[in-house]
């Protein structure tokens, strides 16, 4: 008897459509769809994809708990032994959806789940403790590498085989600690590591320190009437024609745009460069992403002193964390130099 697998994919991999279809509700189809074909080959005779669940990325992201619960109900009828999700590579909403669903699968159905994501996918940080996420490259070009790794791990889990370390098995660390015997005492091992470090030789720590990159909140704005408010966005708003050629995904730069004398971001002058959401609404009226019109009104009413005459914009779509950090630091130094008090940062 072969194991019964359900595969989760988004609207894009199901061939339903891109961002314009990202709000489609979940559905379940019998058999394989899209990348399920590749998994079918990798799983061989041991397991069969009996059904595929498809859901739009924005639909899922907008109602995560409700959608997970809905999909779990759909799955029950097919009596699955395990679930495969994605791979989602570096697609944030897709990765988050895979994570939320797999967490629910493990909890509610009590069966194993395996996903595949690039380490910077936000779904990793959110759900890595809940299920096995195989580390993949950042784009679908890595499909051929991701599929066999995910299928192999899933089969091991189904057969109850002993798993090696995350590095050996290719999945992202879940923070699970296991006891293990060494030939050498801890004291000897630590001295070995220390001497290796002194010599500049490679060594592997047995307990990596968690990295909490948190920033303490800044004090609140005391006197709003005297404040200069600036707008920053990862939603890609820019002048029509995208003069700085900000990339639709994996942005390598941000833009600085003057809005002196502009009361409203109209469609003849502003649009979005973002390739990760349906641009229809932002292109029609960019105030839907960057609320310049309302801020101008409030500036006139004296709610605050001034709307900063420049806004900063990039595309937060598969953009590397390192790039975002660089943009943030550079934008901050310009805002501070210009005497800005506080920032409204909008994300799509």
């Amino acid at each position: 008897m072969s194991y019964r697998i359900i595969h989760y994919i988004n609207q894009f991999y199901a061939g339903i459509g891109g961002e314009e279809k990202a709000d489609v509700a979940p559905e379940i189809r019998e058999g394989v769809v899209g990348p399920g074909m590749a998994f079918k080959g990798a799983l061989g005779a041991d397991a069969e994809i009996v059904a595929t669940v498809i859901c739009g990325d924005s639909y899922f992201a907008s109602n995560m708990e409700k959608t997970s619960a809905e999909i779990i109900e759909m799955m029950k009828k097919y009596k699955p032994d395990a679930v495969i999700a994605g791979p989602a590579f570096n697609a944030g909403r897709y990765g988050t959806a895979c994570g939320a669903l797999c967490e629910a699968v493990v909890k509610e159905l009590g069966i194993p789940a395996v996903g595949g994501m690039y380490p910077e996918n936000p779904g990793v940080e959110m759900y890595k403790k809940s299920f096995y996420i195989v580390e993949t490259p950042d784009s679908a070009a890595g499909m051929r590498k991701a599929v066999p790794a995910m299928a192999g791990l899933l089969l091991k889990l189904l057969k109850g085989e002993k798993l090696g370390t995350p590095a050996e098995e290719g999945y992202i660390e879940r923070g699970v600690r296991k006891n293990k015997f060494y030939d050498k005492l801890a004291a000897e091992r630590v001295v070995d590591m220390f001497t290796a470090k002194l010599k500049g030789e490679p060594f592997v720590t047995e307990y990596p320190m968690p990295q909490f990159d948190r920033v303490d909140p800044q004090p609140a704005v005391k006197n709003m009437k005297n404040a200069v408010i600036a707008l920053v966005t990862s939603g890609g708003i820019c002048p029509v024609g995208n003069p700085d050629h900000i990339e639709a995904s994996s942005a390598s730069k941000f833009g600085e745009y003057d809005i002196t004398g502009i009361d409203d971001l109209t469609c003849d002058a502003f649009c979005t460069a973002h390739g990760g959401y349906d641009a229809t609404y932002a292109d029609e009226d960019s105030d839907r992403v960057l609320p310049v019109d309302v801020l101008r009104e409030m500036e006139r009413e004296g709610v605050f002193k001034k709307l900063h005459n420049k806004f900063y914009s990039t595309v937060g779509n598969g953009t590397a964390v390192a790039s975002s950090k660089r943009f943030g630091a550079e934008i901050a130094s310009r805002l501070i130099a210009d005497g800005v008090t506080a920032v409204i940062l909008t994300s799509t």
Binding site: D213, M224, R288, S333, S347
Partner: protein, 77 residues
């Protein structure tokens, strides 16, 4: 970006739709928005209604910036 700007010394309010991502990334003041493709609007409504929604979100954002916090805070309705 939120974190780097805050680190440099400016209070930031992050207005976004997927609040769990904002919490994971480490924004401190978070205001939940309407929807991914139109955080500050709703094309299904009239222009006047949309503007009202937008105004409400901006007011909430300014309120968040004027609120002292010690940890990550979501300013929901």
């Amino acid at each position: 970006m939120v974190k780097e700007i805050e680190r440099a010394g400016l209070p930031v309010v992050h207005v976004c739709t997927i609040v769990p991502i904002s919490l994971t990334v480490g924004a401190n003041r978070i205001v939940p928005a309407v929807a991914i493709p139109h955080p500050f609007g709703d094309p299904a409504r009239t222009a006047a209604e949309e503007k009202e929604i937008r105004r409400h979100l901006v007011e909430k954002s300014l309120q968040a910036l004027q609120t002292e916090i010690t940890e990550q805070t979501v300013f929901a309705d």
